[in-house]
């Protein structure tokens, strides 16, 4: 239950998450990067240790701001061969729940299905997002974004070369 000094509604958090999803599905990557705080993290834990810590478990992705910026730069270029041509993605986000509000920090979980469509193959990435948001004016910034896969393995997906 949110215990807030300011009220955060699911409506505004959902709006934010849906907007974020649109930026990613539309490959508006610079605008997506702008949603992050200057110190931030983007994490995709391993399929067999979903609640792991990237310092002690081998993650798939554990980017700080600098690495995330580079990841976006790379994806905008021509040399991420795995994303050339780009995957099309269509993400469905639901079950958005505000888990905790402490001052300006809002912790949110949601469920995702991200369809990746490429070369006539459709892969479904299923899992939950854990966002740590910071109130920023009338909206939010993301200080931590964790995409926790429910898959046992990236089979037949093979990779996470786009922004999950």
């Amino acid at each position: 239950m949110p215990t807030a000094t300011s009220i955060v509604t699911r409506h505004e958090v959902e709006d934010f998450l849906f907007e974020e999803a649109a930026l990613l599905d539309e490959w508006r990557l610079d605008e997506w990067l702008d949603l992050f705080t200057l110190v931030c993290g983007y994490y995709v834990p391993p399929t067999d240790v979903p609640d792991g810590d990237h310092r002690t478990s081998l993650f798939l992705i554990a980017d700080d701001r600098a690495r995330l910026e580079s990841r976006v730069e790379q994806l905008k270029g021509r040399f991420v061969h795995a994303e050339h041509p780009h995957s099309r993605t269509r993400r469905l986000i639901g079950n958005v729940r505000i888990r905790e509000v402490v001052g300006d920090t809002v912790r949110v979980t949601s469920n995702f299905i991200v369809y990746r469509l490429r070369l006539e193959v459709t892969d479904a990435y299923v899992g939950r997002y854990e966002h740590t948001l910071q109130r920023d004016g009338g909206s939010f910034k993301i200080s931590e974004r964790r995409a926790v896969l429910d898959l046992d393995a990236l089979r037949p997906h093979g990779k996470v070369s786009f922004l999950l």
Binding site: T47, T56, L58, V80, A153, R155, P156, H157, S161
Partner: protein
């Protein structure tokens, strides 16, 4: 090496053309697409060679177990109460159900949920309901969980299995000169290396032999992994001195070459690289504050191993292949990678990070971080390898017209880092095991031979 005459190959083209005189090496692409060839590979290669199963650190205490598929069979890797590691075929000897359905854990007994038969961690029958219903001919010992008939054996904590009932080759003999490079990797630790938490389980829509080639390929680095090297430079991680030395230094160039290790195994390396090593090559990306710790680790290694060996272990890396499906790349981090052909055009891959068991938290975190900058399905390099191999497999739809791949690079010169000698070592062993009408031995192929 013709393949005509036996096992239905009478009308097939030569699968491997090995022309040392002209310096041409060709592989027929049906080896990547033909289900009959895969069936024969399962029989002639996977059921005869020593196949990687797991690591001793995954089952530390009596009763510890992990389950996975090895050479196409579901197995339980189990440490017995006698402290011995066994690989038990995970099928109830009653009517077949998978006995242990958990990924890992510790158990005093394993119970099959279907009729309640229970097994010890050593695989013996511990009990079964209504035991008085069986005749005298029913022998509990004969009904124990089955084990790979050719044996289970470890080298430097790497557990291998053999499914050949008449196997007469020890693991040590099989590994040949590859042992030396397993030793260098494992000598990062004062004691034992350990598999670190977090498994990378993924796949590729390609034939498994493409991943053997790719994992030990120097030629593709500049092009396939351009974005990784651009990141390395832009992140200020690029040790320009090292990069320069790699290009111009004859000693490093001599080190970064493919070496044939016997029995189909090969390595590219070991040489100094610009991406750093958690034990113990410091690069600017790791941060200035870390440098004293790296100096300390290196000094300790010199004390333990001597100057020359410490340099080898700490400062150099290499890409090692153990025939037929094990890769140990000890590069910017240390990975064990194994894979299996589910279909000619689809393989399942499992990769782990290994590190010294005594590694401190800061270095452990760095080892993991350095790993995922390059390796794994979310890194800046492996996804492009996946793309490359999947692109090859799609290209193989032209196999009727575009029949042969060319793997001739470097046949007529001293080996260079971007040559394909290491792949030819693989293919020569493959052809040896696949072509013979009489099964050839999995061992006895000397190191350092072949161009």
């Amino acid at each position: 090496m013709a393949t005509n005459g036996h096992n239905g190959y009478a009308h097939r083209p030569e699968l491997v053309i090995d022309d040392e005189q002209q310096g041409l090496f060709r592989v027929h692409r049906s080896v990547f697409t033909d289900p009959d060839i895969l069936a024969l590979e399962r029989e002639r290669i996977f059921d005869r060679c020593w196949i990687y199963a797991g690591h001793e650190s995954e089952v530390r205490k009596p009763g510890d177990f992990v389950t996975r598929r090895v050479a196409g069979r579901p197995v339980i890797i189990s440490r017995g109460n006698d402290d011995k590691v066994r690989v038990l075929l995970n099928s109830c000897t009653h009517r077949g159900a998978i006995v242990c359905r958990e990924l890992s854990g510790n158990a005093k007994v394993h119970q099959c949920f279907y009729h309640g038969w229970t097994y010890t961690p050593e695989g013996a029958i511990n009990g079964l309901p209504g035991a008085d219903a069986y005749s005298d001919a029913f022998d509990r010992n004969e009904r124990r969980l089955q084990e790979p008939p050719g044996g289970v054996s470890s080298y430097r904590d790497l557990i291998f299995v053999n499914f050949n009932p008449v196997n007469d080759v020890s693991l040590e003999d099989y590994l040949a000169d590859a042992k030396d490079y397993i030793d260098v990797m494992a000598d990062q630790s004062e004691g034992h290396m350990e598999v670190i938490s977090g498994t990378q389980s993924y796949s590729m829509k390609g034939n498994y032999k493409l991943l053997v080639e790719n994992s030990i390929d120097g030629y593709h680095a500049a092009t396939t992994h351009k974005r990784y090297f651009d990141w390395l430079a832009s992140a200020n991680a690029l040790d320009k001195d090292v990069m320069g030395s790699m290009l111009n230094d004859t000693d490093q160039r001599a080190r970064l070459t493919p070496k044939v290790l016997g029995n189909g195994h090969a390595i590219v390396g070991r040489a100094v690289a610009p991406w750093g090593r958690p034990m113990a090559q410091w690069i600017p990306y790791f941060g200035e504050d870390r440098k004293p710790r790296f100096d300390e680790m290196y000094a300790k290694a010199v004390e333990r191993l001597g100057e020359e060996r410490a340099y080898e272990v700490c400062m150099t890396g290499g890409n090692l292949h153990i025939f037929p499906n094990l890769i140990i790349n000890d590069i910017m981090s240390t990975t064990i990678r194994t894979f299996y052909p589910v279909e000619p055009g689809y393989m399942e891959i499992t990769a782990w990070c290994v590190g010294p068991e005594e590694e401190q938290p800061a270095e452990r975190a760095l080892r993991l971080d350095n790993f995922i900058t390059f390796l794994g399905p979310g890194g800046f390099a492996t996804p492009d390898d996946v793309e490359a191999l999947e692109a090859c497999q799609r290209g193989f739809e032209t196999v009727k017209e575009v029949q042969y791949s060319d793997i001739s690079r470097g046949m007529k010169r001293d080996p260079h880092g971007d040559d394909e000698l290491q792949m030819r070592a693989f293919w020569r062993q493959w052809a040896r095991l696949m072509n013979a009408s009489e099964p050839a031995s999995i061992a006895g192929v000397p190191a350092g031979v072949g161009v």
